[in-house]
């Protein structure tokens, strides 16, 4: 696969995430499979500290976030060279329950090429190295959510 000609989309946006449009943008004539992950705001969380969420307020260090998204895409292509298209989108701003906040989509010729693993890897890495934060606002006030990953040199 000549990765220079392959579609790679990464963006931080305040607009709605349009799955149809994003998948279409990373579909080539040789594409037969797309694995897509989307995350959405939970209004009710029952695992761990049970609580309700009124909304999340996302912010990003935009130019660095876009560079790190590109890095995640590069890592995916290195690990799964058969991947054809990659889309990585993080929505920011004030987002209410049930709203999709993030999308990772990977396409390939066939579904048994690692395309599911690639999408899974993408969302895991996004949550490790892409500088985006969210503040949770609920009935008991507001609180910044902090991740727990400490990037290593070269990441």
């Amino acid at each position: 696969m000549q990765s220079s000609n392959l579609p790679t989309i990464f963006s931080i946006t305040e607009s709605e995430i349009d799955l149809n449009n994003l998948v279409a943008q990373i579909t080539l004539t040789s594409t037969g499979a797309a694995a897509i992950f989307t995350g959405m705001v939970r209004g009710v969380t029952s695992r761990g500290d049970e609580h309700e969420t009124e909304y999340l307020e996302y912010e990003a260090y935009i130019p660095m976030a876009e560079e790190k998204m590109k890095q995640v895409a590069d890592e995916i292509r290195e690990k799964w060279p058969v991947i054809e298209g990659i889309a990585i989108v993080q929505r920011i701003g004030k987002l209410y329950p049930k709203t999709p906040t993030v999308l990772i989509a990977c396409t390939a010729a066939h579904r048994d090429t690692g395309v599911f693993d690639a999408a899974r890897y993408g969302i895991d890495r996004l949550k490790e190295i892409v500088p985006v934060w969210k503040k949770e606002v609920g009935p008991n006030g507001e609180e910044w959510i902090e991740g727990d990953y400490i990037p290593k040199a070269g990441e």
């Binding site: 976030a65 500088p131 934060w133 969210k134 902090e146 990953y149 990441e155």
Partner: protein
């Protein structure tokens, strides 16, 4: 002498704070003149001293120099853009 000369060059850097760090700093960004050849560790110590509100945050803060993660021993380059923030929590 070259060595002495370097010591007088100051480095104008831009600091950007995000999430909890910004809340504690009370500002989104700061322009700062720091001595050349300062390390990230030195910069964190300086901020802890100059901005007491940031002292606790400086222990666990993540630092990026020109959009790349940087660690205590790294030298802050000329005109650097330094991001300071807690572990990321996007998605």
């Amino acid at each position: 002498m070259a060595v002495n000369l370097v010591m007088y060059i100051m480095n104008k850097i831009k600091l950007l704070f995000f999430a909890t760090i910004r809340d504690r700093a009370g500002v989104k960004s700061l322009e700062l003149d720091i001595p050349a050849e300062m390390t990230v560790k030195d910069l964190k110590d300086k901020l802890s001293t100059d901005y007491p509100g940031l002292k606790d945050s400086m222990k666990s803060v993540l630092v990026a120099i020109n959009h790349e993660y940087a660690f205590d021993e790294a030298i802050v380059p000329q005109d650097a853009e330094i991001g300071m923030f807690p572990p990321v929590s996007g998605g």
